[in-house]
Structures are given as structure tokens and as C-alpha cells.
Symmetry: D2
Subunit: 349 residues, 4 copies
Amino acid sequence: KRPREYGIRFGVLPTGSLNAITDVPGVRVGQITLKQGQNIRTGVTAILPHEKNQFQQKSLAAIYIGNGFGKLAGYSQVEELGTLETPIVLTNTLSVPTAADALIDYTLTQPGNEQVRSVNSVVGETNDGFLNDIRGRHVTKQHVLDALRQAKTGPVEEGNVGAGTGTVCFGFKGGIGTSSRKLPASLNGYTVGVLVQTNFGGTLQITGVPVGVALGKYSFKENLDGSCMMVVLTDAPLDARNLKRLAKRAFMGLARTGGIASNGSGDYVIAVSTAYQIPHETNSAFDEVKLLRNDNVSALFMAAIEATEEAIVNSLFAAQTLTGDQGHKVEQLPVDKVVDLLKKAGQAK
Amino acid sequence: KRPREYGIRFGVLPTGSLNAITDVPGVRVGQITLKQGQNIRTGVTAILPHEKNQFQQKSLAAIYIGNGFGKLAGYSQVEELGTLETPIVLTNTLSVPTAADALIDYTLTQPGNEQVRSVNSVVGETNDGFLNDIRGRHVTKQHVLDALRQAKTGPVEEGNVGAGTGTVCFGFKGGIGTSSRKLPASLNGYTVGVLVQTNFGGTLQITGVPVGVALGKYSFKENLDGSCMMVVLTDAPLDARNLKRLAKRAFMGLARTGGIASNGSGDYVIAVSTAYQIPHETNSAFDEVKLLRNDNVSALFMAAIEATEEAIVNSLFAAQTLTGDQGHKVEQLPVDKVVDLLKKAGQAK
Amino acid sequence: KRPREYGIRFGVLPTGSLNAITDVPGVRVGQITLKQGQNIRTGVTAILPHEKNQFQQKSLAAIYIGNGFGKLAGYSQVEELGTLETPIVLTNTLSVPTAADALIDYTLTQPGNEQVRSVNSVVGETNDGFLNDIRGRHVTKQHVLDALRQAKTGPVEEGNVGAGTGTVCFGFKGGIGTSSRKLPASLNGYTVGVLVQTNFGGTLQITGVPVGVALGKYSFKENLDGSCMMVVLTDAPLDARNLKRLAKRAFMGLARTGGIASNGSGDYVIAVSTAYQIPHETNSAFDEVKLLRNDNVSALFMAAIEATEEAIVNSLFAAQTLTGDQGHKVEQLPVDKVVDLLKKAGQAK
Amino acid sequence: KRPREYGIRFGVLPTGSLNAITDVPGVRVGQITLKQGQNIRTGVTAILPHEKNQFQQKSLAAIYIGNGFGKLAGYSQVEELGTLETPIVLTNTLSVPTAADALIDYTLTQPGNEQVRSVNSVVGETNDGFLNDIRGRHVTKQHVLDALRQAKTGPVEEGNVGAGTGTVCFGFKGGIGTSSRKLPASLNGYTVGVLVQTNFGGTLQITGVPVGVALGKYSFKENLDGSCMMVVLTDAPLDARNLKRLAKRAFMGLARTGGIASNGSGDYVIAVSTAYQIPHETNSAFDEVKLLRNDNVSALFMAAIEATEEAIVNSLFAAQTLTGDQGHKVEQLPVDKVVDLLKKAGQAK
């Protein structure tokens, strides 16, 4: 059960119908989970902004770096040009090159891309090396291509799945989580969807309730560390500048869960708008865009904060106890106890 | 009474003895409050890292911009050189030039600075134009010089004082707040002190308890907006790079109170280390420094987050209902109700 | 005579008709020169992108920081919002607060701005403290307002004028310089205009000819240092992201003159597009813009490089020997010798 | 013959004894050239700052992005932590993932790295897709490992070699170039070495002489575009902040050759100091460093500018006419004509 089913509410804005990144029309997610033998606990999660050829029809995009101890591929070109030309792939730290290479394969072989000689693969990662034999680099290009091919709209699986298969969050089993917000018409009606790969530390609080302290699990009591990848999609017409501002708010959502972005954390947010597709080639010298004005973006900011907070907690509720490499075992969040704590605080029913 | 006196606890790290920015040895704060007639509700808050000539003995420093809709003076030189060469002054938006000019006066007239021809004044601000006749620009250079002169160690006044005299936070009266954390010896024993000028919006939560919603006051229900200036001092030996990372964590502390860094918000953090004084001139070609390693900064990060969260709430507990320009009135936080809400949630005694 | 009149050519693109920043339609420049007594050698240069109320009709803008040892006011808001809401004022280092305050006066008192409570003054500077009694801060708010009021289209005075009255460049008298490029219709026909306040060091080369070495005047032979303010205007429809890229190319133009952006240099570029005026308030939630595509900006980049190189050299050709504070004297560039050197190198006629 | 052998002088500072990046003590370069059949024209260039285990003994480092249309791997972690933990590898655009993966192999298999689970590979690239069948991705991990293994001190091969095998610069055959500057003792005596992979456009000027125009080859006359990777090594004790400033000056050196950093250009500078080795693990909580003061870095800045300008021209003098993929042919710089032009301008003997 997801937190909302326990009556837990994050913030004040309404969710989309699936409470998932796929509430943004056209967005698809594909996941490959690698759980093999005693020591392989990893995977791939792919997010596709639209159904067309992403290289030929680029999306407006930005990347915000919360804490840059990470290996994300593709930052500088997105920053310079303000566009995304591949799907987004998440995986483990040491498989970033494999995934980036797979995105090149994917792009070069798509119909219409026969002349393409330059591809800016965007790949995020966190380090699942506690539960997963990360040094073995078990993710293959085929796994990545499979994740891309299987991507679909609709509900998104959460927890020990895809790139979240082997991750650890606040000392509990982490994983993939997702959430969304749908603004009311008075605030322009746009949707903000978030997907996270949770693998970080701090002092867990759920809707502010200090769960981490209550359960005796928090940074500097235990050695908690790690990273969080956040992907934000929206149908609001924002350019790269405002998408970067939106991305930064996802990082604020992470802060609301008690994350501290420790030295060793790779906290990145990739934000993409589906409002426009910028053609790779065109006869026009211009891009014509109708962009939301600066003074209309604040509600989207709040949406990104709330959806990120909820997506992180969703990942914890969905994840299950897992044993992996070297016999390491990570317990899942004790949901019943947590719900009790939240009930006492008036935050669950 | 400050929140701690109601048994409210922010995070897990211990405070310094004053629970104030002045817990960092040598740090002084001076404040001038302008409350005159019907419409003047503003002031000046000055923070001095050490007792020597700040221009001749520069401090390692960094500025992090959470949301740049603001007029802070002095950013680029701090960013380029990694040092602070004037005290920090906070005031209202339209008085930044006056304060910057006063810092030039202050610097040029100090003994030893007779040949100085370049001064990088660092001035932060928020907009108190709802309660204060900000267009009147009632702050004078003398007010700023007075704040600098009166600066002292020891307890720091909070609430409607200094640069916080006329500010509004989460729809309630805001102001100046301060807090600190003293790390245990096992985490190297350093102190992190924070002072904030609170003037922003969002959905107020206090130790996670959704106070704003409970009281019916939050962004997009009402029109809440605005800015937050945060100043972080520490005796930990950090260079500009790690001070900027530390500054960013203060912004995460703001997020924990429910702040959303709306479009119109000017959210800036100035972080300064008192560990070294970098001479303006010296015979040596080198600066010799012993800096905390990257992998030892995370506890400081957590300290900055917690102290910022607490400083913001401290400002709300201390601020008092105020009427000002055009008869505008802003109510103080209903502390009794709030404490009741926190008690119910198990967060106050 | 300007360099072009000696047959000197900078780059390959054609200039606008005035070879000045005012070739960009609607752009006006106003300058106040303060040359009084033995020691006052300073002034003000104002650049206005258009004739309307700049606060109500903001311009798309960006600021690039080449080397941030400087006191430019207004950076962070331009960076965050991508717009300019005051004219640009240049003056000396210690008069930035005065100029910023004057821009607030200017803005608050303009018809239509009666409710304005927040103004992001943009003021650039270089340090004329060798020839000018900079510590005396002789620039007044009235001087700034006068420069704004006198601003006009048409030719722009160069050399010892306005904010360039007391500056020094490559060891010779520097000052204000300007130049422009008008792209051919095949490259979309836009104009790029540049105005510089030259006050920096390095090894002067003019169209590549190593004039500084030939004349025995260059950094580390003599103690040359200092800053350069560059303002780039264009009618090309670029948003803040591409304006920042354009601004960076002006810095490349500085490099072509032999500038080295020494530690003490404050090298800033303010780039503004006149293509759109973004209303401060409007009923629409959107800004509709037709922007030049990324793959069409390179010719503008080259234009900015060439025009900046030429504007810097123009400032040197126009500036005249000046004696000032403490009897300091700075010789003008020996134009005849320089032209001879360029003739020998085949770069002048 | 290198340009210096024709009496051509770039700037005013003396070179190191090899006039190569390897003048910085301990720095090694390894190159693998792939010239096979009709269409494979690519390769690998590796730069190793020191002889020890780079992961265990990290180097202070920074990356400056001149224009970010590129796929460089490793940016964000270097930016966040200020250190380099792998050698630097340069190759072609679509082989970045292969090279990044090879650096992981290299690191994981080094003695002492048995527990390493996170590696920040730093890989730069330019696009050799005109002469090379880049879509074929002919660089293998073994090629990269071979380049690393063969790395040595001493002279560095220039021209059509390593990662410069298939590149094109200013419309002529580009490639690898290198140069250095050795500061006199009065300026602290440090060495700055630069290595470039040249593949970009603009209007070529050599020591300022407008060679590109004279030869009728320049941007917008022809379609010239592309990128430049620059690597700067120094034994000066600079931290990441000052290394980033140093890196920016290499970009100014590129500007001096007539480069324009066009939209499609990926212009990156990786700067590394060999002065300190920061241990991956240590018992101390501190790094003790003696860093060159800000006011002593300007001569290093000038050194980086001059050495980069010279390294780029060196690459052009060394490169030879090459035919490659699809029968594309790129002529080498007509050195005799160029030297004649420089002689006439008084810039060669």
C-alpha cells in the first residue's frame, strides 16, 4: 500500500490520477530489474518524455546539481543548449558508461538518425554497491535497450525495481518512487511528475514526523550516506532557465524528508518539459514558444517540492527487505510502526 | 520564550550555549531598529566575523544563491576570490546602496586602510515594503555605522528588530532569528551559527507539524511571497568551496520549514569561516591552511540545516504583531495554538 | 581618428553605420564627465536599451562574469529572471552604491512606477583610482540622473569621457570605446553593438600586432592590472541563456587584444536583447517569443568578439594623455607609432 | 618543424625545455593512433598527472566549460570535490562511454583499489566524424588501457596522433598540440603545460597575423565548426578555485587563435595541479596545503593563455593532410605560405 492509502498527505496540492510521473501526458517509464544469484541486485530505469524520436524532437530540459559527488552523464550539453536529445536512463554508478553507450546505440539505430554523429546521452546513477556486486558491472547494453523498449504509460512500479533494485535510503531499503501534482485550473492546470531513485541518508522524517529518530536510525548515529536521482517531468511550458529553478525545488523536497546531501551524496535533478518539441533540423531560423511567465511558476515549484517528498516516501513504503552481495541485508521500513507513529502525530488515519 | 523552552527540538545535534550565531567565538552582531511614526518599520543588522580590521584580515567565505530575485551586493568578488573583506550588513531592499556605501565609509576610515581604493561591500536584504514605507528609504549611512559600532558578542535579540523589524514570514510577523549547533568532539567539535532575516512564504511546518495548514495560512490560499537572508558562521576550517556547500545546506533548512523559494523570493546564504584570517597584504606568496577534508564536512552540513530551520522558527516565536505603512497589520504567530498543535503531535511538552 | 580611418580592420564582418552600440535601433547612451581641479577624473556612462519605461518593459538580458574581482550591482536577479529592469550605468568602483541608489530614484519617480517597491539596479564599474581621487566619491546621484537624461541615439563619444574619464588600459590612457557589427541578411541581418570601459592590463596586440611588446609596455614588465566592463546590445531575439553565451564571446574579444584577466581584474559583460519587451504586469500568464535557434547564434558570437576587440582599441585611439590625482600622469597610446607598426605588419594603410 | 623553429614567438614568457605539457615534472602522456583501412581515423590520448595510483592519491583539479556542446565525462564530481581521481583520457565523441568504462577497469584493477566501488572517470572528446567513421565506434577499452600503459614523460608527439588523429581545425587538418611556459623565479618559477585536441573553427590568426583570411578559409565563408579540448597541468600549488580560473585563461588562449566557440563547439579545459596529492583515505581529518595567494596567480594566467595559443598552432603545424571516411580529405596547413605571411608581418624569421 502506498502512503496515501494510510491517509498520509504530503503538502496541500492534489495529485494526478496515478500519482506518478506518468500523469504527465505522453511520459513513459521502462524498468529492468536484475536480481540474480547471491550478489546481483541492480537494474535500469528509463524515462521517455514523448513517443517520437527524441533526438529529432528534443525536449526543453535542465539539470540541477544538488551535490555533485556522482557520475551523471550529459550535464554540460543540457546546460549549454537547454535541450534533452535522448531518453533519461538511471542505473548504478559503475554502469553509467554502459548505459550511455546503449543510448548511443539506441539513437544511431533509430530511423531518421542515419546521419547522426553526436549524441548526448543523459544517464543518472546512484551507488548500489552495498547490496549489489557493483564492481561486476552486470548491467549490459541490452538491459538498457530493453528498458527503453518496454517503457509504457500508466502506473509505475515502485520499490526494489529497476535502478532502485539495490539501493538503501535512510538506513532502510530504498528504491524507485514516484508521485505527481496536478495544479488546479486557477493555477494554470499543469501537471508535475517526479520519479526518484532513493539511496541517501540523513534523519528520516515523514510529513515531518521524526521517524528516523524514533526508530533509532539516522546519520552520525549510523553511517548513512549516498545519493538521490530525481527526475521531474511537466507539461508546463518552461524553458531551461525555469526548468532549472523547478529542478532545484525537487532538491528542496528531498530536504523535507530529512536528507542532508552529505559529502558523498550525488544529488541530481533532471527536469524536462513536454510542452514543446524542438526539431533537430528545420527550415526556420527560429523557435517559437509561448512560455509561462516567471511570476506564474511558483505553484509549479510547490508541486515539485511536494511530489518529490512524496515520491521518496513512496519508494520507502514500496521497498522490501533484501539480502545481497557479501550477505549484506537491508531491512525494509517497518511500515506498521511508521504508520502508528504518524497516527499519533495526527498525520495518518 | 524561544521554542526550545516549550520542549521543541529541531533535529538531533546539540546547540551551542546561547543557541545563537554568536556561539561561534568572536562573532558579533549589531542591530538598529527603526520604528518611527506610522510608516517606518525597518532597520539594520550587522554581523562581524572577528574583531580585527576585516579588510586587512579577510575571512574565507562563500555565497549561495537559492533564488536570485534579490539585490544582495558583493556576490561576484566573494565567488571569485573566496574571501569576505567587510562585515555583513542586512537591511531592506531599497536601502542596499545606502548600506553598501556605509560599508565603504566604514572601511576607508578604519586605521590601516588609508590606501584602500576598492571595497567589496556585502549587503543582504529582504523587502519589508508591506509594513514599511520602503520607498522612503529611511535607513541612513549613520544607522548602518551605528549597527556596526554597537555589535557585540553574547545573546542576539530576535523578532521585530534590526533588518527584521518589518518583515513577514508565512503570513505571520517575521524578523530576525538565530540558532547554532555545536558538534560533539567525535565529529571534530566545531560550531555552526546561523542568523536569518525571515520574510518568505510557503506552507509553514514546525518540526514537521503542518502548522500553516492548521491555521489556514499558506501559499496559494493566501498570497504569500518574499525572501530569506541567511548568514552562516563557523569556526570550522573550510575554504570557499566547502563553505558554498555549507551555505547550500542552510537553504535546505529553509525547505524544512515549508519554504518554497517562490519566484519572487530572494534567498541567499552567506557562509563565513572564522578559522583563518587571510591578510590583505603579506610578504609571503602563499596562504598556509589546514582545511577540513571533504569527507569530514557532512556533520557540519547537518548542523547548518538544523540551525537554519530552528533560526527561522525562532524568528517567528519572537516576532510580535505590528502595524505599519498604510495601516497594514501583520499578526504574530499564535504561539499558544502552535504549541498546542505541536504537543498533540508529540513535538512539544 | 578612429582605427578604421587608418585602414585598420578587425575581423571579417561589416560594422553598422556608426560603428557604435547605438547602431542597435533604439539604444541610447548618456555620459557625464567629471574633470575638476587636480584630482577629480571620473564620470558616468549610461546605456538605455529602449525609450520606454525600462521597469515596466523589461529587456531580456544576461551577465557573464569573466573575472569577478569587481563590484557590479544587479547580477543575481538578472541571472535568475533573465531580464533587465533598469538602464545600465557604468562608473567608478566606489561610486557603485551612489549609482545604484540613483537608479532607484530614477525608477521610483518615473510615471507608472508609483507602486514599485523593488528595483534591481544594474551598475558596472572599473577602478580609476590611479588618476582619480576615488576615495572622495565625487560622483553624485545627480550626475547619474543627468547621464540618464542626456542619453541619446547617434554617435557615441569615446576616450576620456563618462565612466572612462580616468581609466588606464595596457599602461596607456584608456576610456570608453564602442563598435558594432551588422550581419549580412544571409546570417539573419541582426546588429550587435558593444560599449567598453577599458581599464585593464596584459600584452596589447592590435589586430594581432604585438604593439605592447614593441612599445615596451606589458604585464610583468610593468605592473599593469585592472578591469574591463563590456556592454553588448543586440536586436537579435535571444533569451537569457543565449545572451549569456553571447556575453562570453565579448570576453573572448578582450582576449584578442592581449588582455589576460589578471587576478585583480573585474571583467563583466552585460548582454541585452532589444527584440522583446517583457511587461512587468500583464493579463497573460505567458510570454510569447520567437527566438533565434541555437544553431543560428554563431555569427552573432563572432560579431560580439570582433566588435569588442575593436571597441577596446577604439577606446585607446580616442583617449588622451591625462594628469590627475597625486600628479599621476598616463600617456595616451602613441597612435602614430602604432599605425606605423601596423603598416609594417600589413594591418594598416 | 614546430613554429618556434621558424622564429615564431607566442607571447612574452619563456617555454619549458620541451615546450610540452610534460615539462611539468611527473606528467606523462600516452597516445594510441587508429588509422585503419579507408575510414578509421581516430585514437586516444591519455594524460597522467603523476606516477602513483591516481585514485588513492587524488590531484587538485577543476574543469572550465567554455562552450558546453560536448560530452565530457566527469564534470560534476570534479566541480564538487575539487579533485581528480583518474587519469584524463581524450578520444572521439561517441567513444566517451568506452573510455570512461576503460578508466573504471583501470582503476578497479589497480593494486590497492580492491574495495573501490565508485570511480569518476574524466574523459574529454571532440568529434572527428568528418574523417573518421565515428558511428562505428572503433575505439575499444583495450586501446584506452594501452594509451594509459604507454604513457611516458619526455617529448609529446603532435599532429595526426591519438585523439587528434581525425580532427579538423580552422578548415585545415588539426590534431594534438602541446606547449608550456616556465615562469621566471621572480614570478615563483612554476611551470604551466598545455595539451590540446584541436577541432574547431573561426578565423585563424597566428601570433595575430590573419592567416585564415589570407588563405580564404574562415567561418561563414566556409562551414567551419567544432570543438577544442584543452588540458592544463601545473606544479603551482593552486586549489580548485584558482585552477578553474587558470582553466578559463586557456579558453582565452583559444580566443587568441581566432576561435569563436561557435554554437556547436565543445570547448572544455581540465586544469590539474601536481603540487599536492590528496589521499583517498587517511587518519587525519585535515588536508594541509600551502596555496599560492590570489594576488600571485596572474603570471600563471598569462602562461596558460600563451601556452594554449601556441599549443593550438603547434597542432596545425604538425598535422598532415589526411583522407578518411567517405573519401573526405582535409589538407594540412600550408606551412610555407603561412611562414611567408608571418615573415611579412614581422612575426617569423
